[in-house]
Symmetry: C2
Subunit: 358 residues, 2 copies
């Protein structure tokens, strides 16, 4: 059976303002020293498992050209351009429909485009296990991440300890409060939900039919018209009518018969790069816990994270616990405890119609 990959690259990355912008969100930027963008790294790390012609990217139509530029090897028809954003459930349904049309039933790996992974080898091993079971059984397989601290910003997966390298899922849990997260973390029975899934197209389309039946007719029209000249018109007609919802809320958390839901606990050094603070975990840290990139003069600073350019000079004096992100036309200076509030800056810019900075 064919194995195809679907990279979901439609996100806005607002918490990565001012680097991430409406015209070029986070996934189209490099945050690592190798200069490769998050999207390129995502494609690269599945190279051993999926052939380039079987890699699909779902993105907003305004980013289709960026995807072509950054992934010139994948066929143009594999870039699935959404007319509007509708979150991951419609996105995965769209891709599954297209893949099924092309290959008949196939194994489909669904991956966010904006994560970083430390060990590609371990990642591939986890993914291969997932593909194996998804191909041989009608399962929904999710890649779980062994928690390294009690994060409250992720969903959790409660898993059954019976199993080999693959485990039954007992429950999907939405973002918990700190006390619950602490409990989950301490127990060793919970994984972070990474948003990476493996299943056959037939399996996920069945689940969509059961839990989000209102998507099905539209998805069938999309499947029918893919690679015809009317495809774009059909997409424009169908997509805006889809309700925006995530695959987690729309399906995973609703499945009552969990006997077909499995998880593979990954320990490959996963980083969802959810806020600027996440860069600390991938940057060189000096003896005063500073992670500095750019043309920088540091006088007596501690715990400072800077993402700058080689051009403009940034002088830091006596600072502690600050994040600085410097771009050509906009500068962010943020307390480390408030990196989630970078979204508020973006909201402010929208509200006050400062579109040139969005």
């Amino acid at each position: 059976m064919k194995t195809a990959a679907v990279i979901m690259a439609g996100g806005k990355g607002e918490r990565f303002w001012p680097t991430s912008r409406e015209k070029r969100p986070k996934q189209f930027h490099s945050l690592t020293a190798d200069g490769k963008t998050l999207l390129q790294l995502t494609k690269e790390r599945i190279g051993d498992i999926v052939q380039t012609e079987d890699v699909y990217v779902v993105t907003n139509k305004k980013y289709a050209n960026l995807v072509r530029e950054q992934l010139p090897d994948i066929p143009v028809e594999n870039i699935l351009a959404e007319p509007v954003d509708r979150n991951t459930a419609p996105c995965i349904g769209f891709a599954a429909s297209v893949i099924e049309k092309k290959y008949g039933d196939a194994v489909m790996i669904a991956l966010p485009s904006d994560h970083l992974i430390k060990s590609n080898t371990l990642f591939r091993d986890s993914l291969k296990d997932a593909v194996d079971i998804a191909e041989t059984r009608d399962t929904l397989v999710t890649i779980g991440i062994m928690p390294v601290y009690p994060e409250t910003g992720y969903g959790y997966i409660h898993f059954s300890k019976n199993g080999g390298s693959i485990y039954k899922v007992l429950e999907f849990i939405e973002k918990p409060d700190f006390d619950k997260a602490k409990k989950y973390f301490d127990s060793g029975e919970y994984l972070w939900n990474s948003g990476m899934f493996v299943w056959k197209t037939s399996v996920i389309l069945n689940e969509i039919r059961e839990f989000i039946p209102e998507l099905t007719e539209g998805l069938e029209r999309i499947k029918c018209y893919y690679q015809t000249e009317d495809f774009d018109h059909v997409l424009e007609a169908v997509y805006p009518g889809f309700k925006s919802q995530s695959i987690d809320c729309g399906i995973m958390e609703k499945i009552t018969d969990l006997s077909k839901v499995y998880t593979i606990p990954g320990s490959f050094g996963w980083n969802d790069v959810g806020s600027w603070l996440a860069l600390e975990r991938i940057r060189l840290i000096d003896k005063n816990n500073n992670a500095l990139q750019g043309n920088i003069v540091n006088i007596d600073c501690r715990d400072v994270l800077v993402h700058g350019s080689e051009k403009r000079l940034i002088a830091l004096v006596g600072l502690e616990g600050i994040v600085v992100v410097d771009t050509d036309d906009a500068l962010l200076i943020c307390n480390k405890e408030n990196t989630q509030d970078v979204k508020k800056v973006v909201e402010f810019l929208k509200k006050h119609d400062k579109r040139e900075f969005l």
Copy 2:
């Protein structure tokens, strides 16, 4: 008797990096909403007391063109260009010699070019009193400032309480430690030494002859050649041989016969703009004690001072007690407690030969 003013505009303003640069130090920048530079404001506020053709500016020769640009009304020969910096004692001697050559003995007002003053009216009244006494008696008059807190970065003047609007000086005191500054502040018998002086040229040249006799021969040569074609050559020959010293250390603190030294306590809202923090006292402060200038998005900040431009956007999130100065090619972010350490940035840039940022 003629009254002339000498504006001392040769400073480097290193603590005002990155706005203040080697090519254009602090005094040639505007820090106020009126757009006038500190130099222009200094010239403007003596307008009622000194005629434009009697205003002299001593500066490093590399800034002579900047002075001409910013003060186009004053005669070109009134711009006294030092070949090298030698602090205020040679600078004042230089100006006194030139003025004496031009007018014979005259009253001379010596003013730093980089201070801000709130009430020009009160300032002029103090200055007029000083000119009156300097003209009628052979005195050295210094403008003192009634302290508003126990600053350790200024020299102090101990003054005798006997007198009208003008008081005898008992002692000049170098920058004190905090305990002494606190004692001075509490006593009400001490003033800040503002670095503004009024005296006759004959009087100050006599003092120089007594306390810095090694300057006298050079100054006499300067006087002799002023407005001749050999003037520049003589300056180049003489000036580098002068020892660098301030008028305070070189003369004021050494005078044993203090009967001729007077002070006028000014209460005109004096600000020596000694560090970026000084801007807080002249900027509009919001309810969270932020003083923000520029194109700024402020999310939950307190006690933040920003000096930015109208171009680049600066977004501040959750910060407290920070100073931000943004220029085209360099950015400063500094803890408010460390604004004196901005000099360390300049030292670092010199040491590492990053001359383009000096």
